[in-house]
Symmetry: C2
Subunit: 480 residues, 2 copies
């Protein structure tokens, strides 16, 4: 077999990368300068984007002028602009230029952080920056790596709640996960308003989504600890094994704040693992005045929040903390020969592959490090306060218009409201607003009623965008 040579064939040279890299950087800067002029929700039909692509892959390499031109021709028409200041849908996934630079460096270095030895900086920077974050949110000391716990970057809050549930299952079954499946009697608890990822995790873990009890909520859509206590007692009486509770700080539907202190006391008394999901709203704890939302975390076993939602850090970046890292590692560690190495055997290092489902992992701490260093705690607080103040202003406008009503308390940056005209009218209103391309809102149902959600957290959303959104909502309401 002869060796084809030389290696330079077909590769892009560093000089070409310098030139094209600048072009792409400029394309991105241009994008942010014009994103406000683009329809927020993509206006294409199913299949339209595929229809613009050749049926067959190219046999020979194409010119970069053509490839980059297709970003405008093919990709942008099919993009829903999460980085538009007029994006108020779902939750924010707010990027920032410092985070983009971090992602670029990470891609450039192309390291694997599965073991400490495979790039010590990837592991140690992550551990350190997550300890910084614990300081910044004023989390209990037990969640720090310097105590019995520590933080790890997961891709999403869905993966975080799965990891928490697996560690809880491990503890509840006396560390017997190698043996025949989960104890068939395990029961998990969360509220009717919790994110679907709790049920999904139970399904994945073989616990069964039917064995997740959805606990009733109060008039503010927060979990009722009295109902939780009664349900746990009933399950115990039925011979089942309660093992896990997921409480939410800021539910997806309406930003409800579960009463973590009361739930935590109950979990401690009953020996249940308490996971606290603060996916979006965790960021609020940067500001001392919003830390009341995080009361009761002392009794939590795990906690997750997503800088990729509301802290200017590109997806994916979920910060997942455990109080007892040994339980998590026990649930997820398998050490084959080809991964053995002295650093691991010494016990002096973290091998983050044992903290989540995946083996390989990229250098995600870089972007979080860049964001924290660029903004400083002060800059981050400034923008969180700004978003909350904008949402509170919007809430005031809704309250002042008789045609509308608030649908939930809106303590932070998400306002749930509805037009006083029934479900169909609200559905039409939403559809017309989104089809206009001027803004993007989504909906939920609260007390069975169709409800509009306006979530403020995009990096560049200013007062004029929120005021513009309200004006458009009023206009469309006029036409109903």
């Amino acid at each position: 077999m002869t060796i084809p040579s030389p290696d330079t064939s077909y590769h892009m040279t560093p000089a070409e990368f310098r030139r094209l890299g600048r072009e792409v950087v400029d394309w991105i800067a241009d994008y942010y300068e014009r994103v406000e002029s683009l329809p927020v929700l993509a206006q294409v039909e199913p299949g339209e984007i595929r229809g613009m692509l050749p049926a067959q892959p190219p046999q020979t390499g194409e010119a970069w002028a053509d490839i980059l031109a297709d970003l405008d021709r093919v990709v942008l028409p099919g993009v829903t602009h999460w980085q538009s200041p007029n994006f108020f849908a779902f939750f924010p996934a707010n990027a920032s230029f410092p985070a983009i630079l971090g992602e670029l460096v990470s891609a450039g270095l192309g390291v694997q952080g599965m073991l400490w030895i495979t790039s010590p900086a990837c592991t140690e920077l992550e551990t350190h920056v997550l300890d910084w974050m614990a300081d910044m949110l004023d989390l209990p000391a037990k969640f720090r790596s310097t105590a019995s716990g520590g933080g790890v970057i997961q891709d999403t809050a869905s993966s975080a709640v799965l990891a928490a549930m697996l560690a809880a299952r491990e503890r509840a079954t006396a560390y017997a996960s190698n043996a025949r499946g989960a104890d068939g009697s395990l029961v998990a608890y969360t509220s009717t308003q919790a994110h679907s990822s709790v049920e999904k995790a139970a399904k994945i873990a073989g616990i069964g989504s039917d064995n997740v009890r959805l606990i009733a909520v109060d008039e503010a859509f927060a979990m009722r600890p009295d109902v939780l206590a009664r349900q746990i007692a009933a399950d115990r009486a039925a011979g089942l094994t309660p093992f896990f509770v997921s409480a939410t700080i800021g539910t997806t539907s309406s930003n409800a704040l579960d009463p973590v202190p009361a739930i935590g006391r109950l979990c401690r008394e009953q020996g249940l693992w308490l996971h606290v999901d603060a996916a979006m709203s965790g960021t609020a704890a940067l500001c001392p005045e919003f830390r009341y939302t995080h009361a009761g975390l002392e009794d939590a076993d795990s906690y997750a929040f997503n800088p990729h939602k509301w802290m200017f850090t590109n997806f994916d970046c979920d910060c997942f903390y455990v109080a007892d890292r040994a339980a998590l590692i026990q649930a997820l560690s398998i050490l084959p020969e080809y991964l053995r190495n002295q650093a691991t055997q010494s016990g002096a290092v973290f091998d983050y592959r044992d903290w989540h489902v995946q083996l390989g992992r990229r250098f995600r701490a870089l972007k979080l490090w860049f964001v924290i260093r660029h903004y400083g705690v002060e800059g981050l607080r400034f923008h969180v306060r700004r978003h909350v103040a904008l949402a509170q202003a919007f809430k005031g406008w809704v309250e002042a218009d008789d045609r509308f009503e608030l649908a939930a308390p809106a303590p932070l940056n998400l306002v749930c409201f509805r037009y006083r005209g029934g479900n169909a009218a609200n559905e039409t209103l939403l559809q017309r607003l989104n089809q206009s391309g001027d803004l993007y809102l989504t909906h939920t149902k609260l007390d069975g009623k169709y409800t509009l959600r306006l979530c403020i957290g995009q990096t560049h959303t200013e007062e004029r965008h929120v005021a513009g959104a309200w004006r458009r909502i009023q206009e469309e309401a006029d036409g109903l």
Copy 2:
């Protein structure tokens, strides 16, 4: 509550991003130009990188000159250089400039692809490029989106095997995953040489890693279908429920090729789900002369390979294919109100959140699209052939030196070999080579014997690097 203004405070401006983006692009180009001069394996002790970081996060923003300077001061000493042409350890995670540009665009757009509606281009480009890849590898038609199957990008092969196992469990238990856990009698099968992710998936899924049967291998470390058949029969006789087999095309330890045709026939007869893991070696199927490694895929239910290993596409990018997408979606779909939308209800679109654990997902198809368009099928084949030829040359050198022996057949780009001097000598040899910083190799155990692995797949590895590695191995052997 007054609204802090204006929004421009603290943010990096587009103009600053243009300037700093260029600096980072140049830093990356410089990195690739000098990476060969850096010690491949990071030469730091545990805690050394953390020791260079401030204990507290910055209260106010820092200057970018300081942030970027820390890439050289803090980060690089702690990096094990996966992008060095002298990296021969584990498996490659080979990046390329086109892929880095794709990752940069993805970070810039910052879209979420959880639902079709949340960015139609993110979903449709992914579906389309994965159909291209199916063409490029000549996969059976059933794995295409235009048939009953389709491809999705998962982060890793670990997540892919978990998804496959969950779909298999769903099918085996008659789509009852909502109910009480997994059927307690389920049994999965893989070879003693398979990746640890199969056991990990069984642990996660509540099946229990003890219920994974590790099937004996032949002298080439490939799974023995006769032993598999006997074990399935024994398990059935014991009242258990065989449901899942994971076969490997190119095992992690030694690149062994399981006999997929025979295993597939057995799975079809027995009604078991067959997953085929070709994480690294799948790329070889780009070349017609290596497609023999993929014989038998007609009987597979799912297949995974990682462009992020050996196809110049930055981590993470695992291409996961299923023949029956309905089974996968059934296992992983939960649709809460706040995610409902017309496109989803119409059934005309894919919502990729139902194809994996995570809800959020980034626009990973961009980098794969860029790589395929930059290299073309021809350019990709050129480099795969080059790597295989280099590995075969190295294999010849080992065979020609009496002090060494081959430890496994080495059909493609991974050569397992050992010094004829016992385990301790090989361990010392490996340690000295890695500590020199000149190259990075890892080890495994085959037939209980300590074995060195040299894997060739880094983007810029040329003949001189492989020849240099062999010279250094011979030199250190001289000193034993």
